[in-house]
Symmetry: C2
Subunit: 309 residues, 2 copies
């Protein structure tokens, strides 16, 4: 079980070489990240996009283009189409967004012929290494699904459990977070959280332990659970997955972790057939590299699962 | 302008002596806090409740009962009634919850004859001193108003601006937080945040600068505002008040600050005629003392405001 990004990096180095397909690669920050991924032994890259622009940026950032395959396609939509097809056809292990609108990028992911649909709805997970917390924290959904229904939340859990499995957490503990730790009929989020816990008890949500409603302190602080006399809960201060009631709660908490907590993170889109990396402009370089390492680990896991089917 | 709790303590020491009226005081943690408040020159206390029990606890915690006035009332509801009346009648400056149900305590606060109604709805503010943030942060509402309407949000802002004024912040900057920083018609929280900003421009919300929708990074990180090209916003990384869209977002972020951020805090109920301290069992001793100091400063401010009317 990986407890830090350093451990993830170490694991990834032991894997068979991975390859990332980048859609519209003429972006200096993305190229810096794939350059670092190459250097760190995380993955090789195939760069789809405007070859002249890619080469110009590469020379600026002292990146040796001979280390990378460049496929020259000027039109962004077409470049994304070919880049995602490359993953779809098994020629690369993961798919990364470059200088293309998020909507167009996601359209390529969801393309019925050459995309990476798995049949499950997509969601987003942000994996945090937090100083003072003894395990990785998987925050979801802080960026992608604005107001998940109960059904959506089941899918989000399933998507995220797969990522946990990939980093070696076999039976992740899921905290369905709300403001309080008891059901309050006036707070629908608490009712839904309890429903998820019940569905888990009934075997309708498998391969994980779901508890809810849980406040953040009960979910992540064993002392708080003891102090509140809540030690009989299924999750007592040691949650792996923090499931947020909606994107407002998720995104604000996520940004608190990023900007005020001693932590680092990496993120990816989940619910796809192969890992999809959609970091944003505001993500640091470090986040992009962490995300590539995480995706490499997930790619290996998915390949092995497919092999076992 | 106070930027830390130490500065608040220093200010409070300069004030005329303050007195806190405690409802149902037979609670060791509350007595420890009022003992510390006495020692630190924050406030004297009048303890309403079961005198025998108060004296027994006092001797356990080495508290000199001669330093305090004890009013022996065994029945908790009656004790709260007399304790709040004491503040209502101007004999004490602030009102604090002891060993009584929150509901019963709030009922005393809202009592039409002897309570502390101001005509505005009550709300809650949690004041944070956060390492790395150059000013105090006023989080609201993380505990009291579950799903504030637009009208409620206006009252919450007004209530919190008063507390800011009391600690010397004359024109606080209010960030109406959501997951994103642009209006999205599919996210009602963003529409409401923009509406608050507009009401502020039109002079309907006074004595503060309201901006919204704002993501947490734009609200609190100047670098993020520059990075995102959002430097023309009314609030650029220097918010005083963080207004949350609902209690789920507010409470989860609040607990992230408490448990994972290098910070300390104090909190109080706002919208009352005198400061009301309603700390919870899970609040540390430090939080209770900080809350008493904050309330003392607010009490002085309210008294001066009344004098100026």
């Amino acid at each position: 079980m990986s407890k830090s990004f350093n451990e993830i990096f170490e694991k990834v180095k032991q894997l068979p070489p991975k390859k990332v397909s980048v859609a519209v690669a003429q972006d200096s920050e993305v190229l810096l990240a794939v350059k670092a991924a190459k250097e760190k032994g995380i993955a090789d890259s195939v760069l789809f996009g405007d070859a002249d622009k890619i080469r110009a940026i590469a020379s600026e950032i002292e990146m040796n283009v001979d280390d990378f395959t460049i496929i020259d396609i000027k039109d962004p939509i077409e470049a994304a189409h070919e880049a995602v097809k490359y993953v779809h056809d098994g020629k690369a292990d993961m798919y990364m967004k470059g200088l293309i609108d998020t909507k167009d990028f996601l359209r390529s992911v969801l393309d019925k012929e050459v995309g990476l649909r798995s049949g499950r709805p997509l969601s987003h997970v942000c994996v945090f290494e937090v100083k003072g917390y003894d395990k990785l924290m998987f925050l979801t959904d802080v960026a992608f699904v604005p107001y998940p229904s109960l059904e959506d939340k089941v899918s989000i859990i399933e998507n995220t459990v797969e990522i946990c499995n990939a980093v070696g957490i076999d039976m992740p503990k899921v905290a369905a977070l709300t403001a309080v730790e008891v059901v309050n009929p006036k707070m629908p989020e608490t009712v839904e959280a309890a429903e998820l816990s019940k569905m888990n008890d009934e075997g309708k949500i498998k391969d994980c332990i779901v508890d809810g409603p849980l406040s953040l302190d009960l979910a992540t602080c064993p002392e708080a659970a003891i102090h509140k006399g809540a030690t009989d809960r299924k999750v007592v201060g040691d949650a792996d997955i923090l499931l947020f009631p909606d994107i407002q709660a998720g995104n604000i908490a996520y940004k608190t972790f990023v900007h005020f907590v001693d932590s680092e993170n990496g993120n990816m889109i989940t619910g796809t057939k192969a890992p999809v990396i959609l970091t944003s402009r505001s993500d640091d370089f470090e986040v992009k590299v962490n995300s590539l390492a995480l995706a490499a680990l997930v790619a290996e896991y998915m390949k092995n699962q497919k092999g076992n089917e």
